[in-house]
Amino acid sequence: GAGVSQSPSNKVTEKGKDVELRCDPISGHTALYWYRQSLGQGLEFLIYFQGNSAPDKSGLPSDRFSAERTGGSVSTLTIQRTQQEDSAVYLCASSFDSGQGNNEQFFGPGTRLTVL
């Protein structure tokens, strides 16, 4: 595909259930990011993967949140025991990170998560 894709586009779940959100980055991009966008809020950084390096997990809000990136490509963000405050749009972005920090991030359309 030409861009970053995310699935599902919408997810409604009950409080206490686990959810998995998927991100397919642009082929060849070495960096992958997850952000959370709550209603009326800006983008909250969650986690950053760069190549084979250990991910930067400093933005994960609690230990219920985890993410992995398999084979340096597809990433899955998992939220365990979801709470109503987890309701938000979860955005994934990828970039070809040359190590200079000047590369554009390409964003997916997001997954809208609603926790009832």
Partner: protein, 116 residues
């Protein structure tokens, strides 16, 4: 640590009028600056970026921004807006180089609404 402030959460403007969306940043080191746009129900798209050189940066859709180091600002401007410019605009900052600290920091966003 870096931070980004977008003072205006909402900016209503009449069609064909000029607009300025304000962005101020804080950083103890040099930074790269970005403006992203998010159209309704879509992911973010890069409008323009400042890396170095000329302080006036031109982007897509007729937008431009000026880097002012003394005022630590990177305001976005367009001389004549169109209905299609209705969107949310995010200012972002990142420090050069690759490190776990070099993630992009987004402002809280400014919602631009164009009135006919």
């Amino acid at each position: 640590a870096q931070s980004v402030t977008q003072l205006d959460s909402q900016v209503p403007v009449f069609e064909e009028a000029p607009v300025e969306l304000r962005c101020n940043y804080s950083s103890s080191v040099s930074v790269y600056l970005f403006w992203y746009v998010q159209y309704p129900n879509q992911g973010l798209q890069l409008l323009l970026k400042y890396l170095s050189g000329s302080t006036l940066v031109k982007g897509i859709n007729g937008f431009e921004a000026e880097f002012n180091k003394s005022q630590t600002s990177f305001h976005l401007r367009k001389p004549s807006v169109h209905i299609s410019d209705t969107a949310e605009y995010f200012c972002a900052v990142r420090t050069p180089g690759y490190s776990s600290a070099s993630k992009i920091i987004f402002g809280s966003g400014t919602r631009l609404s164009i009135r006919p």
